[in-house]
Symmetry: none
Subunit: 131 residues, 4 copies
């Protein structure tokens, strides 16, 4: 299941997010083995160099760890995963709030915009009550 790539963002970052998302949502669990560079490269139809870089970055962030000769594994420290999740959520929140405030939107309006959007979205797709 290859990813849809957005040409604006570097591919290696997109794959990073893809893997982090899998970890954070539990698709990949703490201590799990992750695919080898070659495997993932073949699966995603991507140059192995790019995958290599992805893993380097993930290691720098201590999300994955290499066991020499055995392969790469998701970090086994659960708290680390939680921390990553919080960081990612924090960044999203930060960007959203500062953005909205730069647009001069009032705090109360921000809340209602969010709730409205969620209310709308949680109804079925293509089944609007009033367009």
């Amino acid at each position: 299941m290859p990813i849809e790539f957005d040409n604006n963002l570097p591919i290696y970052l997109q794959i990073m997010q893809y893997i982090k998302r899998q970890i954070v949502t539990g698709t990949l669990k703490a201590g799990d083995k992750i695919p080898s560079v070659r495997e993932l490269a073949a699966e995603l139809q991507i140059n192995p160099n790019t995958i290599q870089r992805t893993f380097q970055e993930l290691e720098r962030e201590e999300v994955v760890e290499t066991k020499r000769g055995l392969g790469r594994y998701v970090t086994s420290e659960e708290w680390k995963i939680m921390q990553i999740k919080k960081e990612m959520a924090g960044e999203l929140l930060e960007r959203f709030l500062t953005g909205m405030q730069e647009l001069g939107i009032k705090e109360q309006d921000i809340v209602s915009i969010v709730t409205d959007a969620l209310a709308e979205g949680s109804q079925g797709k293509g089944e609007h009550t009033h367009e």
Copy 2:
């Protein structure tokens, strides 16, 4: 008052956002003349070509219109400005919500995260209740 530039994003995009923000928040109003390429270049200490590019993009988005030999002006169509504001807010919201959902965060939690952050933030600034 020169802008703080973030090295990750192209300068011309940052200036674009800066100007769009001014328009959307009313600092620049519909029909106002905007600074000439050379003026803004001098003020921001940026090469005129870069400013030129900024303005070209703004024009393509119909945020700004050129009157030959006279200079550039904020679009005189108020509705266009409102539309832009909505677009910008919509994008922010979209990115935020899809991001949070990809992290596997439940809708109700999203709302409380937002309200909490706003509650915190509005105290903050020089008026700590408990640090």
Copy 3:
């Protein structure tokens, strides 16, 4: 009745075409007096310098002639007007045909495209027989 200006083309050229069109279609006849720079500038809301340039060019093309102290007049030589009309039509035709051939459209198709477009256009606007 001010003209709608297209920002891509120099204003003075647009006014030139405007006047030539009037001459060629008989709205302005051979020998007619044409408005003064100041008049036309006021009427079209345009900088007099621009009008001045328009007239200079028209004079260079011998479409109008200046009588010192009296004003400017459409050339009194009818054949000249016919010639201009032919030139303008010729240019249009030339640009059209070379353009179509560069697109690789066959000659027979060009004819049918033109006849079709005219047939369509000559019916009432907004009253298509089959969309």
Copy 4:
């Protein structure tokens, strides 16, 4: 085979047309790789920045797509190419017909002018009936 440049039109636009023509006439096919900025710059003896701009515009029109680090490719969507061809032909036609009508030329005359011009032109090239 360098292009002949017309000094009135910006070079980057002329190269755009040149490439679009190649695509529309099938010289460049859907999905084909197009020359790199540096290659084309060298071949046409043009500054790479100018070529860069050409390609940016083509991309904005979705005629061409960039694959990061790999190069640029003609859009792989055939229908897109057909659409572009129709647009280009439509613009030519539009400009021609409105121009002729502004000159006060009757519809029937327009058709005969076109057919005559084509008849003339198609003899010419090496096959004169009577010179």
